[in-house]
């Protein structure tokens, strides 16, 4: 097996440059690449395009990159939890592209799967359809959406092996597997890194072929956005 292990987050992200296009896994704060984001904020990068379902909160997740003004453009489905984002957007410092969540997921999946464009019913009749080709199939209207690919995908898994195979846990899976396949360089961070052969091949969610670099992160905070409990 091909060994994909790098020492740590700084090494994994060392060649990300100004203006790079990044995919960042996670849903809200669940399943985000904490270590890679922490390493990024220590680098003086500018003009990044970040593609992620959400924008994090003000002091965690992608919010940290926003605070350092490293992001020029954000492509997301929902940014409601981040006041810093709103401030920069209203000031005109930040570009935003809102994409329906399912379309965002499918466009990224298409990028990884070599499908340059596909038709979807999502967005018909809404502003999302503006300027897009609309076509009828089997009596319903669909619009054409393009693939999304990126220079780097920063993703987070639960367990990984030295060959880059990944297993996620719970709903922390979300966008991570799709993004793994759509990054030219995919950087995976895991809570537990094991030798190739220790993960059951039948349980692997992301085959190692999609992962170029893997490392074990440290001291995951895994902050919960909304703690809700029953009595």
């Amino acid at each position: 097996m091909i060994n994909k292990v790098v020492a740590d987050a700084p090494e994994a992200i060392h060649d990300i440059t100004d203006g790079a296009v990044l995919l960042l896994g996670g849903f809200g704060l669940c399943g985000i690449p904490e270590a890679a984001i922490q390493a990024l904020i220590f680098r003086d990068l500018k003009q990044l395009t970040c593609i992620s379902n959400n924008a994090g909160v003000d002091d965690f997740g992608i919010g940290l990159l926003l605070k350092k003004r490293m992001i020029r453009k954000l492509i997301a489905s929902y940014v409601g939890e981040n006041a810093e984002f709103e401030k920069q957007f209203v000031a005109g410092d930040l570009e935003l592209e809102l994409i329906p969540q399912g379309t965002l997921a499918e466009r990224i999946r298409a990028g990884g799967a070599g499908i340059p464009a596909f038709f979807t019913p999502t967005g018909i009749g809404s502003d999302v359809a503006k300027g897009k080709e609309i076509r009828e199939f089997d009596g319903r209207l669909f619009l054409l959406e393009r693939w999304i690919k990126a220079d780097f995908a920063l993703i987070k898994a639960w367990k990984g092996d030295t060959a880059g195979n990944l297993i996620y846990r719970g709903t922390a899976r979300n966008f991570n597997p799709l993004m793994a396949a759509a990054g030219k360089i995919t950087i995976a961070e895991v809570e537990e890194l094991v030798p190739a052969g220790e993960l059951d091949p039948n349980h692997i969610h992301t085959p190692g072929i999609y992962v170029q670099r893997i490392f074990q992160g440290e001291a995951y905070e895994k902050r919960i956005e909304n703690v809700t409990v029953s009595a």
């Binding site: 409601g80 709103e86 209203v90 709903t171 979300n174 703690v227």
Partner: protein, 220 residues
């Protein structure tokens, strides 16, 4: 007039055995608490779970297990986990039977607007566009009026649209309405103590009242 909880309880009565259901944020989330025990239904969370259980005990919260509102949740027996592409394949592919969403406006021909906006910024579209474009039966749960007293049941939506001609029924604090094929809000039931005049007064779009309109059973 119904409370949010009562709206949720009333919607719960509409749920049928064997359904796969997606519940939106807000009042729809509350519906989960009132689904009758004898029904076998499965709740989907579009961030990657089929089989949402109740909120966990305080000691059992798990950062790797949240719903689409980013709230900690639990799983039921028979749950399954998957990625976001699969979650929306289920929705777009017609596998989800029913979606219950909140809304800012609904038009008399069944259009819906439910995007959040502040400072002139649309805060996001989330998964609602995918749900309304799917073949799921779409129920809307919302207050009948905005806080300023203006109606949310309009001739045409003023906000950006989430979907067109997709709403099946609307559940508000004042009553239940279906959308007529030719357009119009058809009143099906009144909330306890709410008069037809009040509903007429607070519905800006075309309201259709035919025959006797039953009053809902009251909630304890």
């Amino acid at each position: 007039m119904l409370s949010k909880t009562q709206i949720a309880r009333r919607i719960a009565k509409e749920i049928k055995n064997g359904q796969y259901i997606n519940l939106g944020i807000g009042i729809p989330t509350l519906v989960a608490n009132y689904i009758p025990d004898h029904l076998q239904v499965v709740l989907q969370s579009e961030n990657g779970l089929l089989g949402i259980g109740p909120f966990p005990k305080s000691a059992d919260t798990d950062p790797d297990l949240v719903n689409a509102g980013k709230e900690t949740i639990s799983m039921v027996k028979g749950s399954s986990l998957f990625d976001s592409a699969e979650a929306f394949a289920m929705i777009r592919g017609g596998h989800i039977d029913m979606a219950i969403l909140g809304a800012l406006e609904v038009s008399e021909n069944g259009d819906i607007s439910n995007w959040k906006i502040s400072s002139g910024l649309i805060k996001g579209v989330g998964g609602a566009l995918d749900l309304v474009a799917s073949e799921a039966r779409l129920f809307v749960a919302m207050h009948h009026c905005h806080k300023d007293g203006s109606s949310k049941l309009l001739k045409e939506c003023k906000l950006p649209l989430t979907g067109i001609k997709c709403v099946h029924k609307i559940f508000t604090d004042l009553g239940i309405f279906s959308i007529l094929p030719e357009g119009g809000f058809k009143l099906l039931e009144r909330a306890p103590g709410v008069t037809l005049d009040e509903i007429r007064d607070k519905t800006a779009g075309k309201l259709v009242i035919k025959g006797e309109i039953p009053e809902m059973e009251s909630f304890d």
